[in-house]
């Protein structure tokens, strides 16, 4: 599925009129905010239980696939409350990210595809991971960051996954989360549109894993959440 820029702006406008912002302070469009609305899907654990903020371990990265069955995202419960942040893309577009959700506003989710050269967590290994507080990266010396060990880009999840070191110019796209009494839902993606390039550059790998590009691009109807360390036995740290 490809969305044109015009579609995006339209989606933003629709989001505004439908009151997309009412529950979670969803981002308001600023200068053509790159918000893409996707079907709302519940986040579930592998045992079928809904994911709720209180059921997440603090500073442990979880993986789920959204909005496509091949596009990984990180779900992290941070230590402290995370408020809304304005972010800027290399293109100059500015958007506002909602911050954390949950009672304590600590739960965040980002697309786990590095905006620099699109490395992403795979079953055999993950070059992207989260460095908890006081477990610093030996290379960059940073903690509380999502870091990519291909070209050493680091992103700050407390600031909307803004790049804080390395070659990446754009924040990791944020997954728009919604919480109600039944649990947490994903309902859109905000930030740089990297899916088109991802599907193009990883065509061979995705075909191998999913059978065809078309299958890799299927939208999910439910997202299963697992710890990164359960998803892959080889988390590359640097």
């Amino acid at each position: 599925m490809g969305l044109s820029r015009r579609d995006l702006i339209r989606v933003c406008a629709i989001g505004g009129t439908l009151g997309l912002t009412k529950n979670v302070g969803i981002p308001f469009p600023v200068q053509g905010s790159p918000l893409r609305k996707f079907p709302r899907v519940p986040l579930m654990f592998a045992n079928g239980k809904p994911v709720k903020p209180q059921s997440l371990k603090v500073e442990v990265p979880y993986v789920f696939f959204y909005p496509y069955r091949s596009t990984p995202c990180f779900l992290i419960k941070l230590r402290e409350r995370v408020g809304p942040v304005s972010l800027r893309l290399e293109s100059g577009d500015i958007y506002k990210w909602q911050g954390g959700i949950g009672k304590e506003k600590t739960v965040v989710a980002f697309v786990a595809i590095c905006t620099h050269q699109l490395s992403y967590p795979r079953r055999d290994k993950s070059f992207l991971s989260y460095y908890p507080k006081e477990k610093k990266s030996p290379l960059t010396g940073k903690d509380e960051v999502i870091q990519c060990c291909a070209h050493m880009s680091a992103f700050d999840p407390k600031s909307g996954a803004k790049p804080v070191e390395g070659p990446a110019k754009d924040p990791l796209p944020a997954v728009i989360l919604h919480e109600d009494t039944n649990g947490i839902y994903a309902e859109g993606v905000l930030g740089k549109d990297i899916f088109g390039e991802f599907f193009d550059l990883y065509r061979r790998e995705l075909r191998r894993e999913f059978g065809s590009s078309k299958k890799a691009k299927e939208l999910v109807s439910q997202a299963t959440v697992v710890e990164l360390s359960d998803f892959t036995g080889n988390i590359i740290k640097c």
Binding site: H116, S119, P138, A150, H151, G166, K169, I236, K237
Partner: protein, 439 residues
Amino acid sequence: MNTSRRDLLKAGVGSLFIATISSPISAFSMMPMHSGRMLPPSKVPRVVIVGGGWAGVTAAKHLKKELGDKVDVVLIEKRKIFMSCPISNVWLGGLVEMDFLLHDFQTPASKYGYHFINATVTGINRHKRRVMTTEGYINYDYLILAPGIRYNYEAWFGKDRDLARLCATKFPSAFIPGSEHIALKRKIENFEEGTFVLVVPPPPHRCPPAPYERAAMIAHVFKKNGIKGKLIILDPKKEIKPKGKGFGDAYKQLYGDIVEYVPNAKVKAVDPVKRVIKTTAGDFKFDDANLNPPHQAGDLAWLAGLVNKKTGWCDVDPLTLQSKLDPRVFVAGDSASVKGFPKSGDMAHNHTQNMLVKALAAIIRGKDPYSAVSAPTNTCYSMVNGKPKEAIVINVLYSIDRKKKAPKKKKVNVVNKRSSQLAESTFEWAKALYRDMFG
């Protein structure tokens, strides 16, 4: 008309014969080269890129990505296939297959919408803004020179080009990808006993850690093959730089019986016939060797008349990579001289994408090039162990001093503790950049 190689050779011999009895002009006219114009004139600014290495291929893609139909991009490269110099040491060590290094020029040209011309550049007329090639000529609005490096054998052999050729044949450097790498690999694999010498070129040279990584990979092969021999590293510097501790630890802990590191060994004379190198640290006889002469800007930079003869490199604006001698020419990759920028594949990719392309795109749009550029980074992994695969890494962050209009080092991150995880990252680093350049 299809002309076979044999026909061409016959025509060449015939023309040479005619030349001896008539005039050299008739001989030239018989050469199997095209002299007409290539491609119709462009309605939008045309950027011609000569040299399809890391910098040239990066420039072609990212200019199109930046400007789309507002620019016409032509990449000219003489080789039939792209072979990556980064990761070639790892291949020398037998840790990846050759196809990891090989890529085609056609797919990215077709995918990203630039012209690819497989031809050898024979002349550059900057006054006419014209590049002459074996396939014809082409005019440009802007020229990007990305010719990589040339070996400065003159520093060792003066004007004795025959001796230089002999040295290059018997002891190829393999810092320019291709046949030399294959020859060097055969040497390493066939070595059975005695002394193997590796000469580290004096700085600045292509990829500062590469000679040390190569030494580790050669030592790995010797160790794997149970060779009773020495690998002597002759380094003109007083110590290993960068990642000195990481390399030093690997040599000592993994290859203690094999590697002998000799600092302050500036080459005074090389005798490729008697197999002797005279250096400021003494004379060294060898059984086989990887002899690396000093590096300079690539041949095409000399052809264009843009090399500073004192340094051997091209003087450029350190933010835009624009030649200081010709504002219509930009120099990408190793031929450019920018203080603090190593001549690495990663740096070539980074400064081309973030500085040169952004600046040139701004100029074409009629905007200020200086405010368009962003600071690059440089990441260099070095494989130091083959079993298990283990690597070390340096990562340099730059900032831009807008007042001085120059980049400066902001932070240097180094991990000298070798690890398998960094070895995995080495491959991911390369795959991602190949993906970026070749689609």
